[in-house]
Structures are given as structure tokens and as C-alpha cells.
């Protein structure tokens, strides 16, 4: 049985500095040759600064502490899968910005699955604000734990 009482639980705010070194490393990792990530002069002309790759904010999840992260330790690492991911952007996010994120458990539920047996789903939503206290983005992800290993 899943613990429904954690729905609505909010973590401690966490900091997400937007650094050029990490942005270009990320761009290379997704094989993105777009020069705006690698040439700050060009990026300044085209975008007002070095922008972030669309999915970059998800990396903040791996730097959150136990207090800022909803209870992921309930999952078995051998059977964890990423189910869904969503980003909504309200304002530009550029290298040099310092974002503050606030994560909240938006849902937890169980479902009978096909290949993976009984599955537990955890949905988490995070709101990001910048150093000017502007709301810049919202992220939402769903993680799931399968009842058995899924071998493709």
C-alpha cells in the first residue's frame, strides 16, 4: 500500500546555479552542436546570454538534499523508471542566473502494469524562480517502480 499522506508534501527550497561549464557539457552529452551553448559572444547577440538546453533543469534533481527532495528513497534502484517529464517556461533562463526550486509531491498511486507487474507511481512538481524573484519555470516528473525488472 502506498502512503497517500505524502501528497502535498513540500521540500526545502534548493539552489540551482546556471553555470556555463555545465551547460556546454550537457549540450555535448546530448550531441547538440548548437553554437549558442559553446560561444558566449554569439549567444549574447542571439539570446542575450547563453541559454539552457530545454531539458537542463532536470539536472537540479540530482543535487537536491534529502530535505529538498520528496521521498525517493522509497524506491528500489533496480526497478526504477522515469515515466514522464514536463517543463513549462515563463521567462528566459541564462547562464549567470541563480534559480531557487521548490519541489512538491503532487501524487502517488499504484497501477497494474503489463510487462512490469504492479507499479508504484510518484509525481513531483517543482517551481523555479530566479534571483529577481521571477517565476521562470515549472517542472513535473513521474517516477515509477516496477514489480519486476523490465528487460526491454
Amino acid at each position: 500500500m502506498v502512503d497517500k499522506s505524502i501528497i502535498g508534501k513540500t521540500g526545502k527550497p534548493f539552489t540551482m546555479p546556471i553555470e556555463w561549464g555545465k551547460v556546454r557539457e550537457f549540450a555535448r552529452a546530448i550531441r547538440d552542436p548548437n553554437p549558442v551553448y559553446f560561444d558566449p559572444e554569439l549567444a549574447k547577440k542571439e539570446c542575450g546570454g547563453v541559454p539552457i538546453p530545454v531539458t537542463f533543469l532536470q539536472t537540479s534533481a540530482f543535487w537536491q538534499t534529502a530535505e529538498s527532495t520528496p521521498p525517493l528513497d522509497m524506491f528500489d534502484m533496480r526497478r526504477i523508471l522515469h515515466g514522464e517529464q514536463e517543463f513549462e517556461f515563463f521567462k528566459p533562463i541564462l547562464v549567470g542566473d541563480t534559480l531557487t526550486g521548490l519541489a512538491r509531491v503532487s501524487d502517488i498511486y499504484e497501477k497494474e502494469g503489463g510487462r512490469g507487474g504492479k507499479m508504484t507511481f510518484l509525481a513531483v512538481e517543482a517551481i523555479y524562480t530566479n534571483q529577481r524573484n521571477e517565476r521562470v519555470a515549472r517542472a513535473r516528473f513521474v517516477l515509477l517502480e516496477t514489480g519486476q525488472a523490465v528487460g526491454g
Binding site: E25, A29, P53, Q58, R78, R79, Q85, A149, G151, G152
Partner: protein, 140 residues
Amino acid sequence: MVSKLKFEAIKVGDAIPTIKIENVARPDFVRYAGASGDFVPLHYDQTFVEAAGIPTVFAQGMWTAGCLSRCLTEFAGAGQVRLFKVRFARQVWPGDTLTCRGTVTAKSEVGGEKVVDGDMEVVNQKGETTVKGSFRVAAA
């Protein structure tokens, strides 16, 4: 920041740029682990995955999603994406070749901004969908 996408020139049903990812390989997952901080061992530790009953390491879902997001920045420019929403349908394995693609489904104006919506997906060399989703980008 101005979108390079011309609102008037776009029609519902138009294809967005296709990105082909040839020969997915283990170093992609290791590089993404370092870049993103996602060190879930399913993506690089062969001993760990075999013990878990899985034949080989597989891609971080967000690596594949990142590859897909390139269609949108190519389409409208970096910083022009307003909504990016994906579901992970199937794992991506070493040796796969991926095609990232999408189609325009709607055009509208939201809060004084011209926007273009669409569906997008990543398919592997067998034609199976691995990631599926929808998007909204700004247009000029």
C-alpha cells in the same frame, strides 16, 4: 530573443526538423551521467544490471528526451520553447539508431505571444516509439 520561426509561414500538419541519432553507445550514457548528475547505475554498470535481470545498460530517459528537444531548438531557436512534455514508452539500448521528429498540430496566440503547438516522438530503427510527447514554441 526573437523566435526564428515565422508564424505566418507555418501550417498545421507541417513537419518540424528531424534529428537523427546514429549508433547510440555506452559512452553517451556515461557522458550524460557526468553532465546531468544522473548516476543511477542502470545506465552504466553492467554488473549491476545483470544482477537486476536486465541484459545491458540502457539510456537515461532524459538523454533521449534531450536529443528530442534539439528538434525544437532547431525549429524555433534556443530559448523559444514554452512547453516540453514527454512520456517514456520504451528503453533505448546501445546500438540503436533514433529518429527524433514531430508535427505541428495548432497555432494560436497566448498572453499576447504567437505560439505553435505540436506532437513529437523518438522512434528506434525497428519503428518502435521510445519517447512520445507534445510541445509549444514561440513564433515571430
